[in-house]
């Protein structure tokens, strides 16, 4: 019998508290976004697939084809090729293929790059019926980004 009255009092109190909480939430602004019409802004640390960084002036990739990213990748997603520069000093990137189907977004490639040539993109709209769409040519992507900049 001792618990009877205290149960009623504490129970009643908790019920009122619950109603107060939902009443408060009722008048607060919504937190959801209406996706196709509203596009979320990605946080700075969002990890999309990797992309190449071009230099500010020329738009050419910063990459010097050292191959560190390729070696750092635990899943072997990255394959790249380069050719000797005409001046005879260093190499220029000719092909950079990312197999995103195997990538686990660990970021070892970005970490290992010493030339500020790789970063995570903010691209989250990745959907396709075809697996081959995720084998990405990052050189094309950089060219497209350069074209949009101009």
């Amino acid at each position: 019998m001792s618990g009877y009255w205290s149960d009623i009092v504490t129970g009643g109190k908790s019920l009122v508290t619950g109603l107060a909480i939902t009443a408060r939430e009722f008048f607060r602004p919504v937190v959801t976004e209406q996706y196709p019409w509203e596009v979320p802004t990605m946080t700075p640390l969002f990890r999309g697939h990797i992309e190449l960084i071009g230099s500010e002036e020329t738009g050419e990739p910063n990459c010097v084809v050292c191959g560190m990213c390729q070696r750092a990748c635990p899943s072997g997603c990255i394959s790249l090729d380069g050719k000797k520069n005409e001046s005879g000093k260093g190499k220029a990137l000719t092909r950079y293929i990312l197999d995103f189907t195997k990538c686990s977004l660990c970021g070892s490639c970005v970490e290992s790059c010493n030339f500020n040539a790789l970063r995570f993109s903010r691209d989250y709209n990745l959907v396709s019926f075809d697996k081959d769409d995720f084998i990405m040519d990052l050189m094309n992507r950089l060219e497209e980004q350069n074209r949009c900049k101009r």
Binding site: Y4, L15, L19, T22, E25, F26, R28, P29, V30, V31
Partner: protein
């Protein structure tokens, strides 16, 4: 009272429209209310603010196949959803919407309403039984034990109102409360009834939530354990009728609460009484139903029965005694 054919016809059409509009758009209100409480937007695509959503839902339900599984009791299976709807609409005939709006001012209208509410419960029992589905039968049994447990305190609290008003005619009970909120049964100053009547009101409101099988008392359709309870085997408009019946029961419950405790069509300040005040009151009560549903989690069946038998029934009995004593003393 005029009893021409036209009057009956007009009330029939009017009440059917009222019932239909409520059954359809309360679903929208519920979804919008739930969304706001969870800080979402809710339906917003079909029409302005999603107001055409009920029509879209109705169209979708009607275009689905009305499935009658093998091994069900064919006739009862088809009758049950209709039976969920009819008592709720019928109850509206005796509800006094205002001094001059009310289809029938029957003596015994309170009793009639409770009798009809029990028929609504039978529809759940029949639907669950006829489905021939274990979940549905468990749900039907739960629903009956729940209704049984909650009808007792509900009726006991109604007796306090009847004692004060000296009538079981809803219209007379409402007329008895006219002239400002201090005349309403819940805050009634006369004879000091405000001491106990707010407890009556709370008990009655809890019971009407339980009677309409709404969360947190929706043991009959506890999705996590019973799939959808008695509605498991219903598809298309069979399911739709059950849903509409549920919403109509909420409307009737709100009308009854407003009439018995909140002065019916009376204005709180004694000015401009009329049907608009009745509408304001019932929608405030309906909002509270929605608010409660999206605040509390579902209880367990034995806690539900404990609440009724151990708390609500003793309290309503004590309340009845005190109310009767107050009437006798003053």
């Amino acid at each position: 009272m005029e009893t021409s054919m036209w009057r009956a016809l007009l009330y029939l059409v009017g009440l059917l429209i009222f019932a239909g509009v409520n059954a359809a758009w309360l679903g929208w209100c519920e979804r919008k209310g739930a969304a706001r409480i969870q800080r979402r937007i809710g339906p917003c695509e079909a029409g302005f603010a999603g107001l055409l959503q009920p029509l879209a839902d109705g169209l979708k339900l009607m275009s689905k196949q009305l499935l009658v599984p093998q091994g069900v009791d064919g006739i009862i299976f088809r009758v049950a959803p209709v039976l969920a709807m009819i008592p709720a609409i019928t109850s509206m005939a005796v509800i006094p919407f205002s001094e001059n709006i009310g289809a029938r001012a029957m003596e015994l209208s309170v009793l009639l309403l409770f009798a009809l509410a029990s028929i609504g419960m039978i529809s759940i029992l029949l639907g669950g039984w006829a489905s021939g589905n274990k979940y549905a039968i468990i749900s039907a049994a739960r629903s009956v034990s729940q209704s049984l447990a909650y009808e007792i305190p509900m009726l006991l609290t109604v007796i306090t109102v009847v004692l004060i008003s000296g009538s079981i005619n809803l219209r007379e009970i409402a007329i008895d409360q006219q002239g400002g909120f201090w005349h309403w049964n819940i805050f009634r100053l006369k004879n000091g009834h405000f001491l106990t009547m707010w407890i009556s009101f709370i008990i009655f409101f809890i019971c009407s939530v339980a009677e309409t099988n709404r969360a947190p008392f929706d043991m009959a359709e506890a999705e996590s354990e019973l799939v959808a309870g008695f509605m498991t085997e219903y598809s298309s408009m069979g399911f739709g009728l059950f849903m509409m019946g549920e919403y109509l029961n909420i409307v009737v419950g709100a009308c009854l609460t407003a009439t018995l405790f909140l002065g019916g069509w009376d204005c709180p300040f004694g000015l401009t009484p009329g049907v608009w005040w009745f509408v304001v009151k019932i929608y405030a009560l309906i909002f509270t139903f929605i608010w409660i549903r999206w605040t509390y989690p579902r209880t367990q069946i034995y806690r539900l029965l404990n609440l009724s038998w151990k708390i609500l029934i003793p309290f309503s009995m004590a309340n009845l005694l005190v109310t009767a004593a107050l009437i006798k003393v003053f």
